[in-house]
């Protein structure tokens, strides 16, 4: 074949390809195809799959395919819709919840998903199980006990109002598992094949730390009723392959060895999109990616110092230098897509002149070496990087550069989990810390700041016994109100008050709204995420390619 002919043949080939491709897309968009296995590359292997541990993204990514929840939170409206529970009633002060379950739902081991199973699940999540070492779920507040009214009706009682509970029944951490799974001790729940749920996929096999194969459950017929898609999942199966290297995940996707990947760095987005692949960046709708202070440390105990650092942080520069449009600049401590969000951008302005003035007022004078000092003590702060957060080290280092212009030193440390966890509990060693948490309910603010929960500010009586005196009664009072106010409108008002209060006290410097970043091949259709960015593969199908 001459060159000319070769060219002509190639042209014809290309033309026919585009024609068939466009026809294919038109047809595909109308009609999902059943079959095929999705190759999904995960950055990290799952750890313990006890459902309340679903906050760890790799765990949530697995649990979301194999378990169902009592309710479904619509990721667009954030409303709570029926799922395994077809209806529910809540008493006036949100201390009693009654759920009416859908009939005929079974776990993949054949056992029924009835009121008894739900009771056992929630008693475990709400109270923990000491004998089996299963911890309490952080999303369930004030849980008292359950009562099975009849095989399909269950009632939950709370010691105090628990308005966040209904949303709490929709989160990853509330995935329902069979009695057989709940009977296993915590230290055996990392074996995915032992996690028996009622979800659209079932664990088929697992190579620890490397691969996980899920297969579709043929008799699955209880997806959220408002979904257009009912019945079994379109895919026959999903193969999770753990691929830790960023460049290998991207390369494998772009060379056709994988269909969908998690954790795409912002700087790789352009390369993916330029080749016709899609970036998905669902928001996590919770507390923004921030830097928080531990005011128990005398260096940051003064409000003026914290406010100086807040105004000395150029979040716009951080977002535009290190991230992409998928990482919106933060305007409050919670995301603009979160419930109860108020825009506080006027209080978060970058103002280095104001920052310098505040530091001068607080008595921190610039020394000969450029570092501010007071009574001979230099203003040197320390923060540990948090590897799970996107480009956290780079973010902290940029913050350190910005603060250095004010004469404040921020040392960014990478530590092994041991020394990091221990030092991070001690405000004297770690006065500054990165923080974020995702959950689509105002309770998330309490989760983050309340001393009996994540306690990011390190208050006395909280997680750490190293705290000498810092406690903020006003903040804690607001957080308690937030998690126990039954009136939804009043609750959102309180959520607004907390946001204002945290910023007025400059306890946190919100930086950006954190998404979960995925990339997929163009033929992967029907991609969906739950309310905080875990993928849902139930409705995914593979178009011709």
């Amino acid at each position: 074949m001459s060159f000319k002919n070769l060219g002509a043949a190639a042209l014809i080939g290309a033309l026919s390809l585009t024609i068939s491709a466009s026809v294919g897309i038109a047809e595909d968009a109308a009609k999902p195809v059943t079959g095929g296995t999705l190759i999904y590359l995960e950055q990290q292997a799952h750890t313990n799959l006890y459902p309340p541990a679903g906050g760890f993204y790799p765990n949530g990514g697995v649990l979301n395919q194999i378990t169902d929840k009592l309710t479904y939170q619509n990721p667009k409206t954030l409303e709570i819709e029926p799922w395994i529970a077809q209806s529910w009633t809540v008493n006036e002060n949100a201390t009693e919840y009654t759920f009416r379950l859908r009939a005929g739902v079974t776990f993949s081991d054949g056992s029924p998903l009835d009121a008894n199973a739900v009771a056992k699940n929630y008693d475990t999540f709400g109270l923990g199980n000491k004998a089996l070492k299963q911890p309490v779920s952080e999303v369930i507040n004030n849980y008292d006990h359950s009562e099975v009214i009849d095989p399909l009706t269950i009632k939950f009682y709370f010691k105090r109002p628990s308005p966040g509970f209904l949303q709490g029944t929709s989160v990853i951490g509330s995935g329902l598992v069979s009695l057989a799974t709940l009977a296993l001790p915590f230290e055996q729940l990392g074996d995915a094949t032992k996690i028996i749920g009622s979800g659209p996929f079932v664990v088929e096999s697992e190579t620890l730390g490397k691969e996980l194969s899920l297969k579709a459950r043929q008799d699955y017929n209880w997806g959220p009723p408002k979904f257009k898609h009912q019945g079994r999942a379109y895919l026959d199966g999903i193969k999770f392959v753990i691929t830790g290297e960023d460049s290998v995940r991207i390369g494998a996707l772009l060379s056709g060895q994988a269909d969908f990947i998690r954790q795409v760095q912002a700087y790789d987005e352009e390369q993916v999109e330029s080749q016709g692949y899609k970036i998905y960046a669902p928001p996590t709708r919770g507390v923004n990616n921030s830097v928080v202070f531990r005011p128990d440390n005398p260096l940051v105990a003064d409000l003026r110092v914290r406010r100086a650092l807040l105004h000395g942080t150029n979040t716009q520069e951080i977002v535009s230098t290190l991230f992409s449009v998928n990482y919106p600049q933060a305007k409050s401590i919670i995301a603009s897509t979160a419930q109860g969000y108020v825009d506080l951008s006027s209080k978060l302005a970058y103002d280095p002149a104001e920052a310098a003035k505040l530091l001068d007022d607080a008595g921190w004078k610039a020394g000969a070496n450029g570092v501010r000092a007071k009574d001979g003590q230099p203003l040197i702060l320390t923060a540990y990087e948090s590897p799970p957060q996107p480009q956290n080290k780079a973010t902290l280092q940029l913050v350190a550069q910005q603060w250095a212009k004010l004469g404040v030193t921020l040392n960014v440390l990478a530590g092994d989990a041991g020394s990091k966890t221990v030092d991070d509990l001690d405000p004297d060693k770690t006065p500054v810390s990165p923080a974020m948490v995702g959950r689509a309910d105002p309770d998330v603010i309490k989760s983050q700041y309340y001393p009996k929960n994540r306690d990011v500010l390190r208050q006395k009586g909280g997680l750490s016994d190293k705290v000498k005196s810092f406690a903020d009664g006003r903040l804690n009072g607001l957080l308690e109100q937030l998690s126990s106010e039954p009136d939804p409108a009043k609750r959102l008002t309180i959520a607004g008050e907390v946001q204002n209060y945290v910023i007025d006290q400059a306890y946190a410097i919100p930086i950006f709204e954190e998404p979960q970043a995925f990339a997929g091949a163009p033929y992967v259709q029907g991609v969906a995420f739950e309310a905080v960015g875990r993928p849902s593969f139930y409705s995914i199908w593979l178009a011709e390619h």
Partner: protein, 314 residues
Amino acid sequence: MARYVLSRTGQALLVLWAAFTISFVLLQAMPGDAVLIKFQNPEYGLGPEQLADIRAAYAADGSLASQYLQTIGNFLTGNFGYSLQRGVAVSAQLAVNLPSTIQLAGLGFATALILAVILAIFCNIPGLGRLRSFIHSIPSLFVSVPTFWLGIMLIQIFSFRLKLVPVINPGPWEGLILPVLTVAVPISAPMAQLLLRNVDEVLTRPFVAVVRAKGASHYWVLWRHVARNASLPVLTVAGVLFGELLAGAVVTEAVFGLNGIGGLAEQAVTSQDVAVLQAIVVISAATFVAINLAIDLLYPVLDPRLKTKLGTAR
């Protein structure tokens, strides 16, 4: 000979026990512990009382001596415990990771040896002239190639560009080609260097001249007389290189997303998963000790002079 074997074996067991004890003490001395790291993880959002309950449930506050005795007792009965971080039995993790590391390290080592021998043979082909000095410099090139970079390059070129071997879902042997090469290249360098130097050195020995004078051909001399003499130091260094091989395997496993003891150890260190670490330390020590023991026992076989010294020759 029996006494020699016995004393060497006894030493090996002593080393093993010391490795266990030292690692136990070091792990206990590290700040924090597995329970703290696992449950104070923000993903759980547990309060102080709940954490105290969990600590009690895991008996994480027991005395050091009792924990030591319990752990060593469990190990002797083959019970490695559970990985707190992963939520699976340590034995299950080892069952998955150990064979793949052995496979990778074994094939890597064999490939490295072959590469080294090929280089040594090439260098000793008569009449190479300038090419010889080029081949001589290859080991220095190999030794300076970072494993991580080499792995990524091999993937980019052979998997993503040329599409010769997939990295995702490869066949069992297909998946080993690139990782084995990645491990082998840096390890082959010191072996080749040593082999080349030894061959050159042995060739200058008087006995070689004698053999040559008797009319032996170049290859006869190399094979029958030089190879044996030159390979002894290479064997010694091979034992040491095994450690380096494992280090290379850790990086390679990470790059290729392979299972292996290296990756397992790395995760266990970051989460201070004591049960896993303890098992890995003991198994690695046992492997290392076994390899060195085998080399010690092989010496007399390769070098008859040692046999005489040990009083086993007739």
